[in-house]
């Protein structure tokens, strides 16, 4: 609570390529109201600010609150950001957002403290303040999806590196002469990004391997997704279990390196595939045990993220509360 004893709220905005998701979040990290707008409808930057203002007004009205109850507004965006200046360099998959000083414009529009950060950083701050990482001072947050994102919590603060670019776990190399990409050789993401998992499954299926994935996908290889592979693995499908075991091995290699370097108390794994549960986490712990000496392995927790689909908005609101 604030000094006056009144509960204060922050607005969290998860700026995605498809939706602008908003939430009114209280000081305990609990969502009290939600709003959502289509990113395409917002159009220009001014249109986007209008859409966010409309969402904020709706949410405040729903809880019979006014602007003076807000302590801040935080935004998580899919791209590179200069956090200090609230400046967006460029957004992946959202045209028209190159070199935008969003922070000051938010403060002008809403009259409250604002924070703009990369969406993975926002999620990490949310998870580490109100989710799976709230008991740790040093934690590493990883999201598994199209890409593999990451963020570092050091001494209870997000560590951003020399130029706000730290945490790119997806580009850590796991193979000396590995798969080439614009980011280098052998980057983790090149082995376990969503597309790679699906490619691996399709290639094994095409080689004639037996698998229940064929039926689950209705015979259509284009219908195969990481979620489908996860479901098949849960049902005991050998090919799918093999794919998750390979993914776990690659992740374990990077996690072992992260642990030897940083010795975090925990690595928190979020994103779509992380919701697979034991199918991913059991082989992950097995491989990690093989790849860490006992003194390191025993002092490390591997945890699934706790905030699920709300991690983005809660995290963005948290940024405005604590940063």
């Amino acid at each position: 609570m604030s000094d006056t004893g009144r509960i204060r709220y922050a607005v969290g905005v998860d700026f995605g390529g498809t939706f602008i998701k908003m939430a009114l979040v209280n000081e305990q990290g609990v969502i009290e109201a939600r709003s959502r707008k289509a990113t395409s409808e917002a159009g220009t930057q001014e249109g986007w600010l209008d859409a966010v203002e409309a969402g904020v007004t709706e949410m405040l009205k729903e809880r019979a609150l006014s602007k003076s109850d807000l302590s801040g507004i935080g935004v998580g965006v899919p791209g590179f950001v200069d956090f200090e200046r609230g400046f967006i360099f460029d957004l992946t998959n959202v045209p028209g957002w190159k070199a935008v000083t969003l922070g000051p414009r938010l403060e002008e529009r809403f009259g409250v403290h604002s924070r703009v950060d990369n969406d993975v950083n926002a999620m990490a701050v949310g998870e580490c303040t109100f989710g799976a990482g709230r008991v740790y001072q040093h934690a590493v947050f990883v999201t598994l999806g199209t890409g593999v994102g990451g963020a570092l919590l050091i001494n209870n603060r997000l560590y951003r590196g020399a130029c706000s670019m730290a945490g790119e776990i997806g580009h850590m190399s796991i193979e000396l002469d590995g798969i080439k990409s614009p980011q280098g050789l052998g980057g983790l993401e090149q082995y376990i990004g969503n597309r790679r998992l699906v490619e691996r499954a399709v290639s094994l299926l095409k080689s004639g391997r037996k698998s229940s994935l064929r039926e689950l996908a209705g015979g259509d290889f284009n219908a195969i997704t990481p979620e489908l592979i996860s479901r098949a693995a849960e049902q005991g499908d050998e090919l799918s279990i093999e794919i998750f075991d390979f993914m776990a091995k690659c992740l374990a290699s990077a996690f072992a390196s992260v642990t030897y370097l940083l010795q975090p108390q925990a690595i928190i794994v979020g994103g779509g595939v992380a919701q697979s549960g034991a199918v991913l986490f059991d082989p992950l712990r097995k491989h990690l045990k093989e790849r860490l000496s006992p003194v390191f392995f025993e002092r490390l927790e591997i945890k699934s993220a706790a905030l699920g689909n709300d991690a983005g908005v809660i995290g963005a609101a948290t940024l405005a509360m604590i940063e």
Copy 2:
């Protein structure tokens, strides 16, 4: 200078397997006196404390100073340490130093503030305060030798991780199914530790490859050292250049991972082999450029350590000054 305007000094002790090296270091990080005792002659823990006390007395006398001019005493030891308690778990290569609470015993004996840390951490603090890293807030320090050690400077402080074990760059994995060791699979040290470099050279020589190393070693393979390979490489020996190129590639792979994860401003490379200069640093920068996207590569400095053989004593003294 201290509040009274008088220059204060710290004693740095580099506790090696062969020598106890000591130095009286002033507030600018400059060595004003030195002393050295044989580790074997010191014998017991009490004998070691006596030897250090004798060294300190000699150094103070040499500069016409008294104990009251000392602000502290720092010790760098070759092993695992609980920094907070000044507690040594165990020392590699020095028998009789298991579970020793050295910090309080130093304070009792010398009546000044004391700090005990791992020798690589001590060197890193020295390099980052008075050496190659003094202009950086975020830097990674790496030593190349029998093993590959490391330490992290984050926000101008040594970052020690959850249980004082962070910085083990030598155990970071560079190969998914790589060389096995008690620390896991594919650990950097298993590819570029001193012994590995020599093994690689000997194996190539035995396979019949031409090389000036044969003559430099006087035909005796046991005389081959990393320094000799470095000298041969400088003189243009192809086999030796190849070995350094491989070393640089392995290092670059780990450095790229470190950079994507932490984005330090600089990586500072010390230890015997780092004194090879261009023979190591030219291919290292070349490989690193291939393994980092330009936005990361351009914002990273790769530097040779500046304090050389004095890094240990200056670093230990620095610990006592700033920690």
